[in-house]
Symmetry: C2
Subunit: 370 residues, 2 copies
């Protein structure tokens, strides 16, 4: 087992990474907890629900099971309310513990439910997708979507711990592996050129979920993210770098309807677009743009962005949380491993859209990478 420590003003906690963690969850249940709510979706619940409920019950606490409908399309208030209904009907009090067993959608929703149920209860992250393991479960960002924008309603709220079981990746669909790897290579692009080169050298091993390679990739990703979040929990500065590729990516997700592309797929494609923009406004060498493109392709993410029309693209990017006074702030690379935030002229953004969007059949584009 590897351990990565997260230290933020909002709370300090350990991330445990290794095989068999699902059976070792009792150690992460605080002693004064009055009851536990295990929240998952039907797919993950069917695979691991019984086993995790047993592991939690070993703490001697009452375990309530809650199942939410699956998918980004359900990451909204009405689904969140299913959690509140169950907690209140079963009279879970302020000293309860919520456990999020699933991918990023479950983690974001359960985290937000914990942030606001009775003005805040504790929660434990047990991420079961690669993307959640290397990104969304670490750092305390929680949220639900709004029809006018992704993650528009949420909170910064830290868990009491993150338990990452590397065994569960074996049951992960191929597309989900690629989506998770998109966030892994992102850390190299924005923060660590050596790690980026390591990912290039191990792209096949990562795609094949080779145990030593994937464990190293998860641990290094969590470490890089923990360092950034420790210095800037509430995204007043440096943390915004983690959004590399996300302004484009969120527009893809919103433009096609949440769930058509996986978040990581949209980010993978969005990182190529952000690299193209960086070449135009931040001096990123053309050769580095091609390294970004090649690695996104190697891990199996879509390379061609959907053609939503330039006006719609610009409008969708505008509503993203990263605007300030109406101006979009992009994360830009000056080199692999060196990033900063800044504005970009609209003309440059239009050029990037013209160069990266394709008039291909969208369903086909997704299916081709499925």
């Amino acid at each position: 087992m590897q351990e990565v420590a997260v230290q933020t003003p909002g709370g300090s906690y350990p991330i445990h990474i290794g095989p068999g963690r699902l059976d070792a969850l009792t150690a992460s249940v605080p002693a004064d907890v009055t009851a536990i709510a295990l929240v998952t979706n039907p797919v993950v619940g069917g695979l691991y629900g019984e086993r995790v409920a047993r592991a939690l019950a070993a703490s001697g606490k009452r375990v309530l099971r809650i199942e939410l409908p699956d998918g980004e399309a359900h990451k909204d208030w009405s689904t969140l309310n299913l959690i509140f209904d169950a907690l209140l009907e079963n009279r879970l009090d302020r000293r309860c513990l919520l456990v999020a067993l699933g991918g990023g959608v479950i983690g974001d929703m359960v985290g937000f439910a914990a942030a606001v149920y009775m003005r805040g209860v504790r929660f434990l992250q047990v991420p079961t997708t690669l993307l959640a393991q290397v990104d969304s479960s670490v750092g305390g960002k929680t949220a639900v979507n709004h029809p006018l924008g992704k993650n528009m309603v949420g909170a910064f709220y830290q868990p009491v711990g993150v338990e990452i079981d590397t065994d569960v990746l074996r049951t992960l669909p191929r597309r989900e592996v690629a989506a998770g790897l998109a966030e892994v290579i992102k850390y190299g692009m924005i923060l660590d050129a050596d790690f980026f080169a390591w990912c290039e050298a191990h792209a096949d091993a990562l795609g094949a979920l080779e145990p030593a390679a994937i464990a190293h990739a998860i641990a290094r990703s969590c470490q890089l993210k923990a360092e950034v979040v420790g210095r800037d929990e509430r995204e007043s500065g440096e943390r915004a770098l983690l959004n590399f590729g996300h302004t484009f990516g969120h527009a893809i997700e919103a433009g096609l309807g949440y769930g058509a592309w996986l978040h990581g797929e949209a980010v993978g494609c969005g990182m190529i677009q952000a690299a193209e923009l960086s070449a135009r406004v931040a001096g990123l060498p053309r050769a580095d743009v091609e390294r970004v493109r090649a690695l996104v392709r190697a891990i199996g993410c879509p390379e061609l962005a959907p053609d939503l029309g330039a006006e719609r693209w610009l409008s969708l990017m505008q509503v993203d949380k990263k605007t300030e006074g109406g101006q979009i702030r992009f994360v830009l690379l000056s080199a692999i491993g060196k990033s900063h935030t800044g504005p970009a002229p609209e003309a440059a953004v239009r050029e990037v859209l013209a160069a990266t969007c394709g008039k291909v059949d969208l369903a086909e584009a997704v299916a081709a990478h499925g």
Copy 2:
């Protein structure tokens, strides 16, 4: 103008109390704010909306006006969502300022909207009811109701300031004055015997909104609350004392349907019940129970609790946030001005219910205090 300072881990800010504050709001708008959303209800908006919008526009910022339906019955997610819709449609970003102009319902909802919109934006409290001025606008408790319980979904989130204009109380209905005074006398009961005695001596002046008396009552209430909240922002201990009368009061509100009784009316009545319970389990002298009862009556709050049936009463009190491991923790008095929290045997609670509930027509009981 009087100023009371609030200092908590979640933020420090001033409370300004005095006549004419509505026209002096510009000073409370932080310089780096990108836009302002003024949120109110039709009644308060009709009386003061135009004037406050003008005062805010003097800051040179864009001012968006949002009107929410009036009343505790609308303090729910769907009303909250009207705020998010308006903010997103008008593209207010992370550096916007929300201004809550209204009573406790507006303050709680706008505060919670600020806590979770884009994971947290700033907000200013401009309370226009006496209850909101002396209680809910101070201390950062924000929330909406759930069908299974009041304030079940919310956050601890501090405003950037509180602006209390004492002039606006002139337009306040009689029932609202009584409801606000209930929270004023509460501070004396739990924390300050001298202030309680002062309230007894000035009950008529307070009911008549005599300027010097009401200004002193507001400032002293805010000061006592600020001291408690400064020591215990997130209600892990001492802050719970502020809930005196609230376990009974919340059961009245939920049992009759939110809005039938005003929150302060329910708390006024609930304080008599809590005093009766204190006499049975915490040694409160009978004479002090009668002083509590007499002052609740003098300020014009209901004295007789609704007869919901003992089982329903117990069930409604059980779902209150103040339970831990299934046991209700009551706020109890050992003397006027001396309070603590603790459990109470169910038999004593049943005795109190039998002694304080009346089989009167509920609509009539409310009307009689209208």
